[in-house]
């Protein structure tokens, strides 16, 4: 440490502090800020647009190649010749310009950047993917932008944004067994609504609760309430993992101004599920289990930037150990990265899942946005640990998607209908 805190005339939120420190002067909500960008992330889906903006529209090369990463994850490995061509161009661009490339199988962009130390406390990280709010897990101001904004950031090393108002979310109590960070995030979205934090930063005060992976789930889903960023105040595992790399100035000031404050009592929370076809359409799993007791579930998908981490696979394996996926139900498991896959291989988790009847996929986004590796047919029902249940999101427009935690997804796979982990665990091992 040893760094002087920046004296400011009035208390600031985390977003205001980071944007002040990475900009040219002290800013508050509503101000415009031009700030330094520490990392720019480009995914395969928009790589061609990005390259076109850089080369044709701007006539520019990346100002700091070491601050730009291209990740091939949204359709990986390539499913068609046109996708293969786009990915080939991305590889060639990376080779020419010296930007980082994470190729097929390395994993989902947000997971990879976090594992590689390319999102750190106090940094500003922009990604060409809306779930770039994920970086807020480690107190980085992460935000999603489109190809034009991403190209401008790569060309200039900066970006241009309005300092957001902040919503303060305070967690109290402790989660009961079987309730997870996914349930907390869905509850937060239910309370705020899908546009409840539009243009705003969600600042989460969690004390020492939640692992880095769980904090990633919380920050990841903030965009589903419309947020520009989702920042978790450093604590617990983050202090251990990042230590002196956490700048003193990243913490919010006491007395900072919030447009809204909500409190979530974790001890009172039950497993949550988001029903079709909006993410804020959130219910108790117990209620949906009752309403959908005669509804066969065709596919269960465990993975994505929201819930494809090692703790998620562990939660699924704990439910599936010694059991089998129900007849007529497909269980797809796609680890979020090659590191997650390796860890899950080493500790036997993948073997447990494979024996239970899971289909394992290459680390990447999988069928989350309906492009490959398990899209849905008309009328099919899917319980997914992903982040969007919009019409047509994972395949046909008449398929229905329910979003839930890995534990609920695994229980559903065993029962072949919406289920809670306790429904399975009380039955004992059958195999």
């Amino acid at each position: 440490m040893g760094r002087m805190t920046n004296p400011t005339p009035r208390p600031q939120t985390m977003a205001e502090k980071i944007l002040s420190r990475r900009g040219t002067h002290t800013v508050y909500a509503g101000d415009l800020a031009v700030v330094e960008v520490d990392q720019v992330m480009v995914v395969d889906s928009i790589a061609q647009s990005f390259i076109q903006r850089m080369q044709q529209d701007l006539g520019a090369t990346p100002k700091y190649p070491e601050r730009v990463s291209i990740v091939i994850d949204h359709v990986a490995p390539a499913s068609t010749v046109s996708v293969a061509q786009a990915q080939k161009e991305a590889r060639e661009y990376a080779a020419q310009t010296g930007v980082r490339l994470f190729d097929v199988g390395r994993g989902i962009c947000h997971q990879v950047l976090m594992e590689e130390g390319l999102a750190r406390p106090g940094w500003i990280v922009l990604g060409s993917d809306s779930h770039s709010t994920t970086y807020g897990a480690v107190a980085a101001f992460g935000s999603g932008m489109g190809a034009t904004d991403i190209a401008l950031a790569a060309a200039s090393g900066k970006t241009w944004l309005k300092v957001p108002d902040s919503v303060k979310v305070t967690f109290s109590g402790d989660l009961r067994p079987g309730v997870t960070a996914k349930d907390v995030a869905l509850e937060m979205i239910r309370r705020l609504g899908a546009d409840g934090a539009t243009y705003q930063s969600i600042e989460m005060h969690a004390g020492d609760r939640f692992t880095r992976g769980e904090r990633m789930t919380l920050a990841n889903l903030c965009v589903e309430a419309g947020a520009k960023a989702g920042l978790v105040v450093p604590g617990g595992e983050i202090l251990t993992a990042y230590g002196y790399d956490i700048p003193e100035w990243v913490y919010p000031d006491a007395g900072a101004t919030y447009v809204q404050s909500i409190e979530i009592d974790l001890a009172a929370l039950n497993p949550r599920m988001s029903a079709p076809s909006e993410v804020d359409n959130v219910f108790d799993v117990a209620q949906l289990r009752e309403e959908l007791r005669d509804q066969h579930v065709d596919q269960v998908f465990i993975g994505t930037c929201t819930n494809g981490r090692i703790e998620d696979l562990h939660a699924a394996a704990d439910v599936l150990r010694g059991r089998r996926v129900a007849p007529g139900t497909r269980l797809l498991v796609i680890p979020a990265s090659s590191q997650v896959m390796e860890d899950a291989m080493a500790d036997g988790t993948l073997l447990t899942l494979q024996r239970a009847g899971a289909v394992l996929g290459t680390p990447g986004c999988g069928p989350c946005m309906g492009r490959h590796q398990g899209v849905l047919a008309p009328g099919e029902v899917c319980v997914s640990t992903s982040n969007r249940n919009f019409i047509g999101r994972m395949g046909d427009k008449d398929a229905r998607i329910y979003l839930a935690s890995p534990a609920v997804a695994a229980a559903t796979a065993v029962m072949g209908r919406v289920a809670l982990p306790e429904d399975v665990l009380t039955q004992g091992e059958v195999a």
């Binding site: 701007l58 006539g59 401008l152 546009d195 419309g226 047509g392």
Partner: protein, 164 residues
Amino acid sequence: MARIWKFGDSVNTDDILPGKFAPFMAGEDVFQTFAFHYIRPEFAAEVRPGDVLIGGRNWGLGSSREYAPQALKKLQVGGIVAPSFARIHYRNLLNLGIPAFEYDLTGLLEDGAEVSLDVPTGVLTHAGGTVQLPPPPEFLREALAEGSILAFFKKHGRFPGEPA
């Protein structure tokens, strides 16, 4: 005259352009023909240059995919009017030069209504009179004066409002 295409609340980016029809999958030349493929399949074939899209709150929630508004631009949509926009999508619209106005017309105009929209003044004329739409935020006008944010940056080497 332009035609009004009326949508409801929470039109998301998968509604505007489903992910599987992204240009790198469907093809750069044809992806726009899948605009609103699931929720208004006739849209891409019937929309005429200058037509105006109106919707309810939170237009454009979801993905950062710039190719969703790019599809509307290729179809020469004349503007989008909604009481509120999701932020990434709003930036994308303005970055591509698609006029976006924060205003609720859904109570006033029906689908198929004939209108004319004068973008520079924000005046929309319909059978029953005129509506003054709010101008874009002040901080964007400097960029729009050069045509687009890309054009502004290319010319000045900085962002609007940033000291030279």
